[in-house]
């Protein structure tokens, strides 16, 4: 199996590099070209790149593993991301209109302008940057583990992680978002098609109806899950968190700015829920059914590869695990590009070299990409479990920033003081609830932290402003 799978993954990496090179030949030298592909993502590329950006290797490995541990309950946690497609399109369109009018490139540029405050911009930048670094490391870890597993150890962890990091860095540094978006088309289609292929191939072999009674008895059909983790409050916490994070991830919010026109959001509204539906259902139910086919798996995350190895031909296993690699790289490249744009625009241009040319800005972005990927790789090498734990909080930490973005878009009275207070209080309570004794009242710590952040945002804004802000001469909006 390993030789076939490695050949498939090698072919996939070469194809991705070729797409990256094509993107490079079409990319101009301005920051808007490099970081936003000149705002040219249309009805086909835009929804696919949004989907590929969100879906990491977790959807192939972790989501199936959660299905194995908890059962069908995890389907609701991912399924809500299909419903989140509605606010994603609505908020995205509004953000795009603002960005198109004012020429924003980074989400924090938009925030700084909306609140007329460098403090808001730098604070949100620091928070989102801080939560993102461990997530970047985990993508390199995923690459290392994938190659190590498939090659039965012939490709060691460090080499697998290095291969993925170098390939990602090469096409990313060359072509910026254009390379990322074009490769995302390949990666997005691969994720959906390969999940569908896995389901089609495994369903007849598993015969779900024959194992339904056993699943009911083990608790894998219960909404609380097999180990009773999903109490109604935890259930609601997860749904809220996943819905908000989809919009608030910096790489997702920035991608709004790259849409070609309002028609791009039409395509997003139609196609996002379809793609999310497949991603939500297939890995989870296969993982849950896998408990009866392959009981006592030592590593639940291995359930999907193990099922495929049991029932599918070697070439199909290789192709589908190539899909996991695609999902992983499509998240890593987007996150790295966004972080490099934050470094370039909000730190370098604003605070180091305000007079730098656009061409120089773009090159600084390329250097930042190399540094960020190298940092993520070095963090991944020790395989620290704490990094994985921190990456889990990436979702919650980012979701807590969403009220500040929403207020900037929808509430004219929102003030910088309210926004700064909301970020500080929300993050502080979240950390105190996660790592300390702050009560969560049966919810995940993210929920009381969100309630506090919203209260401070509204209260602080009402106390520090006397009425709606005057309309911006640039956007015509407050």
């Amino acid at each position: 199996m390993s030789a076939v799978a490695l050949a498939v993954m090698g072919a996939y990496l070469v194809l991705t590099l070729a797409i990256g090179y094509l993107g490079y030949r079409r990319t101009g030298s301005t920051p808007a070209e490099y970081f936003l592909a000149g705002g040219t993502l249309g009805r086909v590329v835009f929804p696919l790149t949004m989907f590929a950006t969100l879906m990491s290797a977790f959807i192939f490995l972790g989501s199936a593993g959660f299905g194995y541990i908890h059962g069908f309950a995890w389907m609701a946690m991912i399924g809500v991301e299909a419903v989140a497609g509605i606010p994603l399109a609505l908020i995205g369109l509004r953000a795009w209109r603002r960005a198109r009018a004012a020429g924003y490139i980074t989400p924090t540029e938009f925030l700084g302008d909306a609140y007329d405050s460098s403090a808001v911009k730098l604070l949100v930048l620091a928070v989102q940057f801080g939560w993102s670094i461990p997530y970047l490391a985990i993508q390199a870890m995923g690459g290392g583990l994938l190659f190590e597993t498939i090659s039965n150890g012939a490709v060691p962890f460090w080499a697998g992680g290095l291969i993925v990091t170098v390939v990602t860095g090469a096409y990313l540094a060359l072509g910026g978002l254009r390379s990322v978006a074009w490769s995302d088309v390949l990666q997005g289609v691969a994720v959906v098609a390969l999940l569908a292929a896995a389901a089609t191939y495994l369903l007849p072999a598993i015969d779900p109806l024959a194992i339904t009674d056993a699943l009911r008895e083990s608790g894998h059909l219960a909404p609380a899950g097999a180990v009773g983790f999903f109490t109604p409050r935890i259930w609601a916490s997860f749904l809220l968190m996943n819905t908000m994070a989809v919009i608030a991830y910096p790489q997702m919010f920035q991608r709004f700015f790259a849409a070609e026109s309002e028609r791009s959001f039409r395509a997003l509204l139609v196609w996002w829920p379809v793609m999310a539906l497949i991603a939500a259902v297939v890995p989870v139910v296969l993982g849950a059914w896998g408990t009866q086919i392959l009981p006592n798996l030592g590593t639940p995350d291995q359930v999907l590869p193990a099922l495929l190895q049991e029932f599918a031909p070697a070439w199909l296993v290789g192709v589908i695990l190539g899909g996991a690699l695609a999902a992983m790289m499509s998240t890593a490249d987007s996150l790295t590009l966004t972080l490099s744009s934050l470094v370039t625009r909000d730190l370098y241009r604003d605070h180091v070299a305000p007079d730098a040319s656009e061409r120089r800005e773009t090159w600084v972005g390329r250097v930042a990409i190399v540094v960020l990927l190298a940092g993520g790789y070095l963090l991944a090498l020790p395989r620290l479990g704490t990094i994985i734990d921190l990456a889990v909080y990436f979702i919650q930490g980012n979701a807590l920033v969403l009220p500040v973005y929403l207020a900037a878009l929808y509430w004219p009275r929102a003030s910088a003081e309210g926004a700064v207070g909301a970020v500080l209080v929300g993050q502080a309570y979240f950390l105190a609830g996660t790592f300390g004794p702050a009560p969560a009242f049966g919810f995940m710590p993210f929920v009381p932290a969100l309630a506090l952040a919203c209260t401070v945002l509204v209260g602080g804004s009402l106390l520090t402003t006397e009425g709606p802000k005057p309309a911006s001469p640039v956007t015509g909006e407050p």
Partner: protein, 85 residues
């Protein structure tokens, strides 16, 4: 649907999100094919999101940008703009 269609879409989101939240209280029985009843409710919410997207875009042409009035909408001076609520 209003000119920009945002209010009905926000309403649909709230309803569908509520459906997925409420599924936590749903029963395991009856099992429809291999899916418990509560999971069928979740799938209903997800498929509802697919339907909402299709109806909003194909049926109502969401979103209507400037210079692209809704079918039957009054246009001209004094009839209001296309701004979102």
């Amino acid at each position: 649907m209003s000119a920009n269609g945002t209010r009905p879409l926000w309403g649909a989101f709230v309803v569908l999100f509520g459906v997925v939240v409420a599924a936590a209280f749903g029963p395991v029985e009856p099992v429809v094919w291999a899916f418990p009843a509560w999971a069928v409710v979740v799938l209903g919410g997800v498929i509802g999101a697919v339907a909402v997207g299709v109806v909003a875009v194909v049926g109502h042409g969401w979103p209507r940008g400037a210079g692209e009035p809704a079918p039957g909408a009054r246009t001209g001076p004094g009839t209001g703009g296309e701004g979102e609520p």
